[in-house]
């Protein structure tokens, strides 16, 4: 059996076994989970507007940035009681950061439900210098930290919210060439 390191993405459906529901999304374009109606989740939406105040408006909380939403989420989960279901929708980077906050708060499989990401941009960690490269679309990326050309591996770190990037650092290539020249 191959155990995937990817986050378990699946189309969102309201989980009737939960007693409270919180839906976080990084844009208002994300649709509500299926099954909403008689039971409605609390909705938190990022609107990327610096003038927005985080007041509940018709059951929806508007947040001015992803960071603001994640900070509010961490505070909420620290006080939350058993029975909550957390739903997340949006870009891959947003979802990976929601998962990090949820994991840190002690939520488990079944308590966090994530929609398939709306983009394919990946965060890549350089295994040589630990630099996090955001928004990587291709299978290779030149590391912002050490300049190494990284090949993006299908190995996802849930703790870092990033894929592993592996390359041959320039310093290593130089050393190997020098060793070859001098026998």
């Amino acid at each position: 059996m191959i155990v995937s390191s990817q986050l378990p993405f699946a189309p969102l459906v309201l989980d009737a076994s939960g007693v409270r529901h919180l839906y976080v999304r990084d844009t208002a374009d994300c649709p509500l989970p299926d099954g909403c109606g008689a039971v409605m989740p609390e909705i938190w939406t990022v609107v990327s507007d610096a003038t927005v105040m985080a007041d509940a408006r018709e059951g929806e909380v508007l947040l001015r940035s992803v960071t603001a939403l994640l900070e509010r989420l961490a505070g909420r989960l620290a006080r939350e009681r058993v029975g909550l279901r957390l739903y997340g929708a949006g870009g891959a980077s947003f979802l990976s950061r929601v998962a990090i906050v949820a994991d840190a708060a002690g939520l488990a499989t079944g308590e966090v439900l994530l929609a398939p990401p709306r983009d394919t941009a990946r965060r890549v960690v350089c295994v040589h210098c630990d630099t996090l490269n955001d928004g990587v679309q291709a299978d290779t990326v030149r590391c912002l930290g050490c300049g190494t050309t990284l090949f993006v591996r299908e190995h996802y770190s849930r703790g870092l919210g990033a894929y592993m990037g592996v390359g041959e650092p320039e310093i290593l290539l130089q050393a190997m060439e020098a060793a070859a020249r001098h026998g």
Binding site: G18, V19, V82, G106, A108
Partner: protein, 316 residues
């Protein structure tokens, strides 16, 4: 019959906790016991020349040097003889073999908080867990439920744990407001429970209603395999026919006939003893097979389940 493997031991002391509960301290003879983590059970081999028993019991404590371990045994009303033997005949010096040990009920190492619920003799795995969690400085609460007349015994048994961590109730969980306490738990809490079937059902239902997810609910169904109608088991490979008496389990009958049948927990909880049923209808009594598997009737857990038909043919 002498056990071919295992750790030889003798009963070093017997402590009467209640009329139905006794604590036995086993002392290793020669080779020391393997390390046992909190939540482990051991399969003990004991008995007389006429009748050998192999029963699984939770380890309530073990010394780090492997020289001693303790179990608590409840005298089962429908005992097939094992618990009655230990209560009536075992004394200091009685030989006992520790045949195997395994941990099917560990705590989640990553959990931020642990809520432990037990009833009656279901306290046994939690005696080990609570002391380990206390020593680690972990966040936990233990609620134990028992009959009023047994409360003093459990108060004594749990006296070394801080009063703020341990609550002993002499009423059923419903009357003690346990559901309210469970609902107040933070979202990071993992739930563990062990006790008689009625108690298990109550906790399972309450946990589901409160929205506990399966990943955070951990239980150990201990139960004593009960006897039933005698039947005959047929081994497909050899055609051998083995009679299963009313007061022995299918697994015991196989073992007494010298058949090397797989097993581990001996309580219908682990699934290690599963065998394929080729003919006959099993009477399922385990907690491992799904409802669909039970309906299909192609698999049987020999340690607890029996047969509805007069014969049962196994692929063995």
């Amino acid at each position: 019959m002498v056990e071919r493997s295992g750790y030889l031991a003798v009963i070093a002391s017997v402590e009467v906790l209640t009329p139905t509960l006794r604590k036995f301290v086993l002392a290793a003879q020669g080779v020391r016991f393997p390390a046992v983590s909190a939540g482990s059970h051991v399969v003990l081999g004991f008995g007389s020349a006429a009748r050998r028993y192999k029963n699984a019991y939770s380890v309530v404590s073990a010394t780090p040097d492997g020289r001693e371990l303790s179990v608590i045994v409840r005298r089962a009303p429908q005992s097939r003889g094992g618990s009655a033997f230990l209560h009536d005949q075992a004394q200091d010096g009685t030989p006992v073999t520790v045949l195997s040990s395994a941990n099917l009920f560990p705590v989640s190492k990553t959990a931020k908080r642990h809520l432990l619920l037990s009833a009656g003799v279901g306290i046994t795995p939690f005696l080990a867990h609570a002391r380990t969690l206390e020593a680690e400085g972990a966040d936990y609460t233990l609620h134990h439920f028992c009959r009023p007349e047994e409360k003093p015994a459990f108060v004594t048994l749990l006296a070394d744990l801080p009063p703020g961590r341990v609550f002993i109730h002499d009423r059923p969980p419903e009357d003690a407001g346990m559901k309210h306490h469970m609902a107040e738990e933070g979202i990071a809490t993992h739930l563990y429970f062990c006790g008689p079937e009625g108690f298990m059902g109550w906790v399972e239902q309450a946990a589901a209603q409160l929205g506990f997810v399966a990943a955070k609910v951990h239980s150990e169904h201990f139960f004593v395999p009960e006897g039933g109608k005698p039947f005959t088991v047929v081994l497909a490979s050899s055609g051998q026919r083995i009679a299963v008496a009313g007061d022995e389990t299918l697994l015991e009958a196989l073992e007494n006939a010298g058949v090397d049948a797989p097993c581990m927990c001996r309580g219908g909880a682990c699934g290690a003893c599963a065998l394929e049923v080729m003919d006959g209808v099993p009477e399922h009594r385990d907690h491992v097979l799904t409802e669909q598997e039970k309906t299909e009737g192609r698999t049987i857990l020999t340690c607890v389940s029996r047969a509805r038909t007069d014969t049962l043919t196994l692929n063995l």
